[in-house]
C-alpha cells in the first residue's frame, strides 16, 4: 500500500489530562471580554465534535447576537451512536472541564441556566455528576457568577440526540425533530435562543481556554484543526478511547489499531460510512477538503471488521436499528427504513433478483433528499457504502 502523503498517527493527551485547574481557568476566562472569547474560539477553528462539525465559535456568536429575555446552554450527552463511548468517559473523568466550558458559554451568550441532557443508559453517572455540579455551582457562587446546571435524564431514544428533538424531549413531549429554520441559536429550548454543544466539544473548548487558540489550531490539518477522541471497537486488539490529531488516513489508523486482517472500517457509527480496505489510503478523517482523497467527518466511532464478519449482518443490524429508532414523523424515513430492511432480506432469501438492490439504492437516495432530519438523511450513508462495496455479500 502506498500513501501519497504521510500524516502518521499522533496521539495527544489534552482531554483526560486533569491538572485540576478548572477553578483557575474559569475565573481567568470569565474576566475576558465576551467578544474576545468568541474570537478566540473562532480562530481555534473548533468544530462540533458530535459529528455535524458546525463551527463552535459561530454558534456561540449567533446565540449571543439573538435578543431574548432568557437563553440556555445545553450539553448534549445523549451519546447514542452505536460504537461511540467517549462522552461517558469525559463525564466520568473530567466533568469539571465540561461544566467550566458551559459556564463560559453562559457568560458569553448571556444565559444563567444550563442543562446536561444525559442519555438514559448512563444513569449510573447521574450521582457523581450531580456531586460535580454541586461543587461547581458552589464555586460559581463564591466568585459571584450566577450559573445553575441541572441534569435531564433521557429515556432511551436515539433521535433525541438531534438537537431539536432534544428540546421537545426536555419540554415533556415525544422527541420528534422540528423544522429548521428557525435554528436553535434563535429558537431553541422553550423557544429561547439555545446553544447545544456535544460533551467533547465543550471539553475541547476548555483546552482552548487553557492553552489558547493557537496551540489547538496548530494541531491537525487544514479545515480539520485540533484533536478528536476516537472510540475504537470491533475487531481490534486494543479497543478503547484515543485522542488523536485530526487528518490521519484510515491506512495509518488501521495499521495502529487493526488486527492485521481488517477488511473494512465503519467510520461514524450507523449514520456514518463504511470504508473498504482498498480505500484506506485515500480516506482521511477530518471535516472537509482534501488530503489524499475523500475526507470523512465523524462523531468518533471507529468500528473495525475483519474478514470473518459478514457485511450483510452488519447492514442488517444498522437497518434494524434505524427502523426501530425512526421517530415515524416523516414518511421517507418511517417507510424507507422498513423497506430497505425488508428489501435486503428478500434479496438474501433469493425472493428478489440482485438488481433489486439498485432500486433500494435509489430509495436510500430519496431518503437522503427528503427526510426531515439527520437520522433519515444519513441512512443512505451506511446503506450505499456497504451495498456498493460488498454487493456480493448482500446477494450470496
Amino acid at each position: 500500500m502506498t500513501t501519497n502523503t504521510s500524516y502518521p498517527l499522533k496521539r495527544v493527551d489534552f482531554i483526560f489530562l486533569n491538572e485540576n485547574d478548572w477553578k483557575q481557568i474559569l475565573s481567568k476566562t470569565l474576566k475576558r471580554d465576551k467578544q474576545e472569547i468568541i474570537n478566540c474560539l473562532m480562530s481555534s477553528e473548533l468544530k462540533g465534535r458530535g459529528g455535524a462539525g458546525f463551527p463552535t465559535g459561530l454558534k456561540w456568536k449567533l446565540t449571543s447576537d439573538s435578543e431574548a429575555d432568557e437563553k440556555f446552554v445545553i450539553c448534549n450527552a445523549d451519546e447514542g451512536e452505536p460504537g461511540t463511548f467517549k462522552d461517558r468517559e469525559i463525564l466520568s473523568q473530567v466533568p469539571q472541564k465540561v461544566l467550566t466550558a458551559m459556564a463560559v458559554c453562559a457568560y458569553v451568550i448571556g444565559a444563567s441556566k444550563g442543562f446536561i441532557y444525559l442519555r438514559g443508559e448512563y444513569k449510573f453517572l447521574q450521582h457523581a455528576l450531580t456531586n460535580a455540579i454541586n461543587e461547581f455551582e458552589h464555586y460559581c457562587e463564591d466568585i459571584g457568577f450566577h450559573f445553575q446546571t441541572s441534569i435531564f435524564m433521557g429515556s432511551g431514544a436515539y433521535i433525541c440526540g438531534e438537537e431539536t428533538a432534544l428540546f421537545d424531549s426536555m419540554e415533556g413531549k415525544r422527541g420528534e425533530p422540528r423544522n429548521k429554520p428557525p435554528y436553535p441559536t434563535s429558537f431553541g429550548y422553550l423557544g429561547k435562543p439555545t446553544v447545544v454543544n456535544n460533551v467533547e466539544t465543550l471539553a475541547h473548548a476548555f483546552t482552548i481556554f487553557k492553552y489558547g487558540a493557537k496551540k489547538f489550531r496548530d494541531l491537525g490539518v487544514q479545515y480539520s484543526r485540533g484533536t478528536k477522541l476516537f472510540s475504537v471497537s470491533g475487531d481490534t486488539p486494543t479497543p478503547g478511547i484515543f485522542e488523536l490529531e485530526l487528518g490521519m488516513t484510515l491506512q495509518d489508523f488501521v495499521e495502529e489499531f487493526g488486527d492485521g486482517d481488517t477488511k473494512a472500517v465503519q467510520v461514524g457509527g450507523a449514520s456514518g460510512f463504511l470504508v473498504p480496505r482498498k480505500r484506506f489510503s485515500e480516506t482521511a478523517i477530518g471535516y472537509q477538503g482534501r488530503l489524499t482523497g475523500i475526507s470523512l467527518p465523524t462523531g468518533g466511532s471507529m468500528m473495525l471488521f475483519n474478514s470473518t464478519r459478514s457485511m450483510y449482518n452488519v447492514l442488517h443490524n444498522y437497518l434494524d436499528f434505524f427502523r426501530e429508532e425512526s421517530c415515524g414523523q416523516c414518511t421517507p424515513c418511517r417507510v424507507g427504513c422498513q423497506q430497505l430492511l425488508a428489501g435486503i432480506e428478500a434479496v438474501k432469501r433469493g425472493e428478489k433478483h440482485s438488481s433489486y438492490l439498485e432500486k433500494l439504492l435509489k430509495l436510500s437516495e430519496t431518503m437522503q433528499l427528503t427526510a426531515k432530519c439527520g437520522l433519515g438523511q444519513s441512512v443512505a450513508n451506511s446503506f450505499a457504502s456497504i451495498v456498493e462495496n460488498f454487493w456480493e455479500e448482500m446477494v450470496f
Binding site: 451519546e79 460504537g83 463511548f85 415533556g172
Partner: protein
C-alpha cells in the same frame, strides 16, 4: 381504557410526585421517570391519574410512554436482563447470547418469567463497545459474554442454586 381501580395510596403517591414537579406539563418526562422508579411500570390507569394531575389528555401521555424505550407499560422482572444489540456487540455474537437467555429462561424478548424473577430485553449500545458483547442485569454490566456463560450469570441471581459449571 378499562377502569381498573388502583390502590388509593398508589394514587396518593402519584399525586405527590406530580406536585413535586409543580403539576407542570413540561415536567411530564421527569414525572414518568419518577413514577416508574416507584411502581416499576406505567400501566394505563397510572397514566390516567397523571393526566388528571397535569391536566393534559391521557393520549399525550400514552404517546410519550410508547415513544421512549425506557418506559414500560408491563411490569419488569425483579432482575431485568438486557442484551446489547449495538453493532459492536452484534458482530461479536450478542444474538447468540440473547438466544441462550431465551432458551434458558423459556421467555421471549419483552416477557417476564412466571415467577417474576427475570425479564428479558434487548437494548441499543450501552456505550461499552470495548467490552462487547455486553449484558446488563439490573445495573450490573457483564462484558465479553459468551453463550456458555449465560447459565453462570443467571445462577448469580437464583438463590439456592449452586454455581454450576466453570
Amino acid at each position: 381504557m378499562p377502569k381498573i381501580k388502583i390502590a388509593e395510596n398508589t394514587v396518593q403517591l402519584i399525586r405527590e410526585i406530580c406536585t413535586k414537579y409543580g403539576n407542570e406539563e413540561g415536567e411530564l418526562i421527569n414525572v414518568l421517570h419518577n413514577v416508574q422508579d416507584k411502581l416499576g411500570y406505567l400501566p394505563a390507569e397510572v397514566q390516567e391519574v397523571i393526566a388528571r394531575e397535569l391536566n393534559i389528555p391521557v393520549a399525550r401521555i400514552y404517546g410519550v410512554v410508547t415513544f421512549y424505550s425506557f418506559f414500560s407499560m408491563l411490569p419488569k422482572g425483579e432482575h431485568p436482563i438486557s442484551v446489547c444489540m449495538g453493532t459492536a456487540c452484534y458482530v461479536r455474537g450478542s444474538e447468540q447470547v440473547l438466544e441462550e437467555f431465551k432458551r434458558q429462561l423459556k421467555i421471549d424478548v419483552g416477557q417476564t418469567t412466571p415467577d417474576g424473577k427475570f425479564s428479558l430485553g434487548s437494548l441499543r449500545c450501552v456505550g461499552a463497545c470495548g467490552l462487547a458483547p455486553v449484558v446488563m442485569v439490573g445495573e450490573k454490566v457483564y462484558g465479553r459474554v459468551s453463550p456458555q456463560q449465560v447459565r453462570k450469570i443467571l445462577s448469580d441471581y437464583i438463590i439456592g442454586c449452586p454455581h454450576s459449571e466453570s
